[in-house]
């Protein structure tokens, strides 16, 4: 069973609908005591980093996430949910993140190295390049994914980089270390590439349940 963490940030409906399309059991909850029953977690999110961390702290969901991750349960952060996995963000000043992965969210540059203008947010379909191997991506082709974001992760550990996209800078697109994963793009909106990542994540969650 996948637990979708509801902390009042953004559109949970599209993630839920995508899980229905993949055909996996899931539930959405904002209560730590309910979420504790899940085998794996999805941390979605759109909106601002600071508000998101405030909400996670206020609801004590931040503690739940730390507890579940240290128990070895799987976590997938999506978009802002992925950025929250890192140490901090420079969005609206500086805000601390969950600190599960090394690195920080910084604002995308408005031009590339050659001085070509880039629009921010980075909005649309961009091609993925794969880096380190991971069970999350074994079934996924190096295709296009749908991004919408204004901040990207800088200074992360190279061995946690699973896929990236090019937008003037190298934008970490899929990250993963042990049981903690993140996608900067929206897998639920990324056609076949996105659906295969969600399917693989739910398979990993099912396998983990058998091991328990």
């Amino acid at each position: 069973m996948i637990g979708v963490i509801d902390y009042g940030m953004g559109n949970l409906y599209s993630v839920s609908k995508a899980l229905e399309r993949v055909g996996v059991p899931y539930f959405v909850s904002e209560k730590p005591e309910e979420l504790k029953e899940a085998d794996a977690f999805i941390l979605p999110g759109v909106g601002s980093f600071g508000d998101a961390m405030d909400n996670l702290g206020y609801t004590k969901l931040d503690q739940l996430i730390h507890d579940m991750v240290s128990e070895g349960r799987l976590l997938l952060g999506i978009c802002l949910g992925m950025q929250l996995l890192f140490e901090e963000s420079e969005e609206n000043g500086t805000a601390s993140g969950l600190g599960l992965l090394k690195g920080k969210a910084v604002r995308l540059k408005a031009e590339d190295e050659k001085g070509n203008k880039l629009k921010v947010p980075h909005m649309g379909w961009n091609r993925l390049s794969f880096h380190n191997e991971s069970p999350l991506l074994t079934k996924t082709e190096q295709g296009y994914a749908y991004f919408v974001h204004s901040y990207y992760i800088d200074g992360m550990e190279e061995n946690a980089l699973l896929a990236s996209a090019d937008y003037g800078v190298r934008v970490p697109a899929v990250v993963g270390k042990r049981n903690v994963f993140g996608a900067q793009f929206h897998p639920e909106k990324s056609s076949t590439v996105g659906m295969s990542i969600l399917t693989q994540f739910t398979k990993m969650a099912a396998e983990q349940k058998v091991k328990k």
């Binding site: 409906y13 759109v46 629009k119 961009n126 919408v148």
Partner: protein, 252 residues
């Protein structure tokens, strides 16, 4: 690098897709959910649904359409038309849309953009602008109420104001070109695309693949929107994309 997007637009009236010429003469063009699925299969990068229902029942029907589309599609879609307040945005986004577009209501009360962006984030808020060339002032003026009312806003001034308030994208329709199938208004598109830092979707006038190409090369658009040429199968998204690739445009 990021690809240029091809976006079919579906004008929905009382639950059916319709298409007119210069905002008039509506013809039936099919079922929105079926058409959405066809476009997804053909490689549409995104979809836009504009609800042009006049009645309250028509609006309720639109929410059902949004739910059905969200249950079937794994690509993003925007819903606009009749979004007058934050609660309308909530209804549509909770039904499963990824973005909402605002037009007349935002001109009448620009705070609507701010409220939407603060609640849902800029990436959810698309500012739809209908613009028409004004000979007297030699500028493009913004129109509201489906193109029936002229405002005092000059198009780039309004686009900048919208972005300042939190609009994450501009859907720019040339009223002069709309439905004519003679190509987009590149002067207008380029003007707005250079004025704002957010993506601009060119709309109005697509008649063939070459027009789509020019929207990117001459108009500097980030995405190109078309309706009737896709609905009436005059060309397909696949054909447009292979044409664009031939001319070196990066597409999915």
């Amino acid at each position: 690098m990021i690809t240029k997007r091809i976006i079919p637009c579906l004008d929905v009236k009382e639950g059916r897709v319709v298409k007119g010429i210069q905002f008039l003469e509506l013809k039936d063009a099919g079922d929105p959910v079926e058409l959405a699925e066809v476009y997804d299969r053909e490689g549409a990068d995104e979809l836009v649904f504009l609800d042009i229902s006049a009645s309250h029942e028509g609006r309720k029907t639109m929410v059902d359409v949004v739910e059905q589309v969200a249950a079937k599609l794994a690509i993003p879609f925007t819903v606009g038309g009749g979004i007058n307040q934050l609660s309308d945005m909530k209804t549509i986004l909770r039904a499963g849309a990824d973005k909402v577009s605002v037009n007349t209501a935002a001109v009448l009360r620009p705070e609507l953009i701010t409220e939407g962006a603060e609640f849902f984030g800029s990436q959810c808020i698309v500012l739809a602008i209908d613009a028409k060339y004004d000979k007297e002032s030699d500028t493009y003026k913004v129109y509201t109420h489906g193109g029936r009312k002229k405002t005092d806003w000059e198009v780039t001034a309004w686009a900048k104001e919208g972005v300042k308030r939190g609009a994450g994208e501009i859907l720019l329709t040339s009223m002069d070109s709309d439905g004519e199938k003679k190509g987009f208004d590149h002067t207008l598109t380029k003007l707005v695309s250079e004025a704002v830092p957010v993506p601009v979707i060119a709309s109005g006038g697509a008649g063939n693949a070459q027009h789509m190409l020019e929207a990117f090369t001459k108009g500097e658009a980030d995405a190109a929107l078309a309706a009737s040429i896709f609905h009436y199968k005059e060309t397909s998204i696949k054909e447009v994309k292979s044409y664009l690739k031939e001319y070196g445009v990066n597409v999915r």
